[in-house]
């Protein structure tokens, strides 16, 4: 395996969770991997695609293709963006002249935790204080990518971290992209249920591989002034395993 990879940061991470993205890149780098962050990347097209605006999604997806020309893995710190490319670009590019070129991108996509566990077989040493956390596996990681166990496998390598199980763990948090705006009240009721079950665990932090969910759950926890933080798995792992702290 070549030791180079591309990092597809995703639009949410780029603007709202850049430290999570950077942490992910630093973990890969620490494992001896040369990480390239193509500067022309913007978004996989998912927000428009899920809202029904496929033509617009196609145009944006197409603009990504030339950012990842080398035949090396593309690492995505989000289950839903990885899932968008892996499972929906085929639909999006169906019948287009650059369908084949799109497939070349599709086949190289890995979600971040999936890559750490399956490709790198990473070994982690916990340097952090004892803590109790809850894990929110995103729906796309679970139902689409089928990689929900990867985040658990990574966290269970950390000796000082105890994972607490919330009720209805696999239920959607209510984010759903534009769903949270279009059906704001349903989404609000869903995230209320989600934060209730999370808070009942008394964990100090909820971690996830999905920044969309974190924006939703974390934003709701903050609004409620609840005693629970939210964090992306990449940043959580980096903070607990990085020697310079």
């Amino acid at each position: 395996m070549s030791n180079e990879v591309y990092f597809l940061g995703t639009c949410i991470v780029d603007l709202f969770y850049p430290n999570a993205g950077l942490a992910g890149m630093q973990i890969l780098q620490r494992e001896g991997i040369e990480v390239i962050y193509p500067s022309g990347q913007t978004c996989c097209g998912q927000p428009a695609f899920n809202s029904g605006y496929r033509k617009e999604a196609l145009k944006v997806a197409r603009a990504q293709m030339k950012c990842f020309p080398k035949n090396i893995p593309i690492i995505v710190p989000s289950g839903s963006c990885a899932g968008m490319i892996k499972f929906h670009w085929r639909d999006l590019f169906k019948g287009e002249s650059d369908f084949e070129a799109a497939i070349l991108v599709v086949e190289r996509v890995f979600e971040f935790t999936e890559f750490l566990v399956d490709k790198l077989e990473i070994k982690l040493t916990d340097l952090g204080e004892p803590t109790q956390i809850a894990i929110h596996t995103s729906c796309s990681s679970r139902n689409e990518m089928k990689i929900e166990d990867k985040i658990q496998q990574l966290v269970s390598q950390l000796s000082e971290v105890e994972i607490l199980e919330q009720e209805r763990k696999s239920e959607c948090c209510g984010f759903g992209g534009t769903f949270a705006v279009k059906q704001a009240d349903i989404s609000g009721s869903m995230v209320q249920d989600k934060t209730n079950t999370l808070l009942a665990t008394n964990a100090s932090c909820v971690i996830s591989q999905e920044c969309g969910c974190l924006m939703n759950i974390g934003g709701a926890l903050e609004k409620q002034n609840a005693p629970m933080k939210s964090q992306h798995i990449a940043q959580f792992l980096w903070e607990r395993t990085n020697e310079s702290g």
């Binding site: 990092f7 940061g9 780029d14 603007l15 709202f16 969770y17 850049p18 430290n19 993205g21 950077l22 890149m25 630093q26 040369e34 990480v35 390239i36 962050y37 193509p38 500067s39 022309g40 990347q41 913007t42 428009a48 899920n50 809202s51 029904g52 605006y53 496929r54 617009e56 944006v60 197409r62 603009a63 950012c67 929906h88 729906c139 139902n143 689409e144 239920e171 959607c172 209510g174 759903g176 992209g177 769903f179 949270a180 705006v181 059906q183 704001a184 009240d185 349903i186 989404s187 609000g188 009721s189 869903m190 995230v191 209320q192 249920d193 924006m215 939703n216 934003g219 709701a220 903050e222």
Partner: protein, 473 residues
């Protein structure tokens, strides 16, 4: 059902009703657990789903010829076949049959397809008395409501509410909140009605083409009463209910009951292959089947959306839908709620009327994970969403394609497309947003009613990566 209230109003009403939300949450928790208990082995479940899915796909791939085979074999079995293209045709045919038999009192087993054609309302208007005999449907009928779930029609009602409805209509029985007692009382009431009925009406779960048999799945025995006690039996089936062989039935039945109510098998399973024969002592003298299209053949013609017709109406997608759990069935305002409802109904009734239903989905994919016949529901819902706002791909199959496009939303996506497909422009915007991070809006629509607004970072990942010395191509 009355469509007077907008979707928005119905959603508000549902979310504002705490009792309703509690009823649905506990019912769905229970059903999810019961189903999961029936499938302890993931591989076994996947094998059964694969088998069931291919049986349904096979049936659909041969649908026209199987329907002809079914008709022939039903007729050979002395079951009269009627084709109905629309709900109106189906209702008129049923009315004609009842009229010719001089039937005034009709008992009915649980059947979603008769909800679809609004048979009760139609027969009411013709002064024919039609009585629901499934306990849940019976209660819903007494309360003058509509089913809120396709398998458990009265699931929106708490025990107290059920007791209240029942005691109001049958004051002769002592008031009780014991559901078993209410069930016994209802059985007593219904027993006489079966005896007096001039005709029984039922749905069909599977129609077997090779033998001309109609299969009916039920738990209360009321289905068997409706189809055996009255002298006339009319069955109503959507044309997609056909399967090719008798051997197709066991796997479908197995996965249907386990997925629907978490039962290994239902208390009753009826296979009806003819009216009463000369040497037989019971069963109806005359049998009719109405094969209903009602938009199905149009769905069938679209190869992508055709998978909608694989559905065996187990309701599992509904039980696992987090949006349905919040809202319950009535908020959808349709016969079929939940994921299958928002997939099927806009195709049947058009996007102009029901396109907005496709917004009732987070794309979480829970439905597709549990669907016994592997219908890719989120994918179909997503396709329908795109048909609501753009494209002409499906205009030959569905009314109202593109009719839900709103200019503001459309402009937002045009701007988004422009920025996100031009990296330089995106860079400028991203720099501006991060620089002005502290001025970012604190409120945004309904989002900020429940959460704080996400604040853009001071530095984008692109900048951070550059500062940290990562290569950028």
């Amino acid at each position: 059902m009355s469509q007077v209230k907008s979707l928005e109003n119905r959603v508000d009403e549902a979310l504002g009703n705490e009792q309703l939300q509690t009823n649905f949450r506990s019912a769905m928790d229970y059903l999810i657990e019961k189903r999961s208990d029936q499938f302890p082995d993931k591989d076994d479940l996947n094998n059964l789903r694969n088998t069931s899915s291919s049986i349904r796909s096979n049936s659909l791939s041969k649908l026209p010829e199987l329907l002809i085979m079914l008709e022939e074999n039903l007729e050979n079995n002395n079951i009269k076949v009627h084709w109905a293209e629309t709900d109106i045709e189906a209702n008129n045919t049923i009315y004609q049959i009842l009229k010719e038999a001089n039937a005034k009192k009709v008992v009915k087993g649980k059947s979603m397809v008769t909800e679809e054609i609004e048979l009760n309302e139609f027969l009411d208007s013709k002064n024919i008395e039609i009585l629901e005999t499934d306990l849940g449907e019976f209660l819903v009928q007494l309360a003058n409501e509509k089913p809120s779930h396709i398998v458990m029609p009265a699931i929106h009602k708490s025990r107290k509410e059920i007791s209240k409805v029942f005691s109001e209509h049958f004051p002769e029985f002592p008031y009780t909140e014991d559901v078993d007692l209410i069930t016994q009382q209802a059985r007593k009431i219904l027993r006489d009605r079966f005896r007096e009925a001039d005709a029984g009406i039922s749905g069909v779960n599977f129609a077997v083409a090779e033998t001309g048999s109609l299969c009916l799945v039920e738990n209360e025995g009321n289905g068997r009463m409706c189809t055996t006690v009255p002298p006339l039996h009319i069955a109503v089936a959507g044309i997609e209910k056909v399967v090719e062989n008798l051997s197709d039935v066991p796997p479908l039945l197995d996965i249907l009951t386990k997925s629907a109510t978490g039962q290994e098998i239902t208390t009753y399973f009826n296979m009806i292959s003819s009216p009463r024969k000369n040497d037989e002592k019971d069963g109806p003298m005359v049998m009719h089947v109405i094969l209903l299209d009602n938009g199905r053949s149009k769905i069938y013609q679209n190869t992508e959306m055709q998978e909608t017709l694989k559905c065996i109406r187990c309701g599992s997608c509904i039980n696992h839908c987090p949006v349905y759990t919040q809202l319950g069935g009535h908020a959808y305002g349709t016969v079929y709620p939940g994921p299958i409802g928002i997939t099927l109904e806009p195709q049947q009734k058009g996007i102009s009327e029901l396109g907005d239903l496709t917004s009732l989905c987070t794309m979480c994919g829970a439905c597709a994970e549990v669907c016994p016949v592997q219908i890719p529901l989120p994918k179909l819902i997503n396709r329908l969403r795109s048909e609501t706002v753009e494209g002409d791909y499906m205009s030959q199959f569905i009314e109202g394609v593109g009719s839900q496009r709103k200019s503001i939303e459309s402009i937002v996506w045009q701007i988004w497309k422009h920025i996100y497909s031009h990296p330089t422009l995106y860079s400028i915007c991203s720099k501006t947003i991060t620089k002005l991070s502290s001025f970012s809006p604190k409120k945004f629509g309904g989002w900020s009613n429940y959460r704080v607004m996400p604040k853009p970072s001071n530095t984008s990942l692109k900048e951070l990566a550059k500062q940290a010395g990562f290569k950028n191509e």
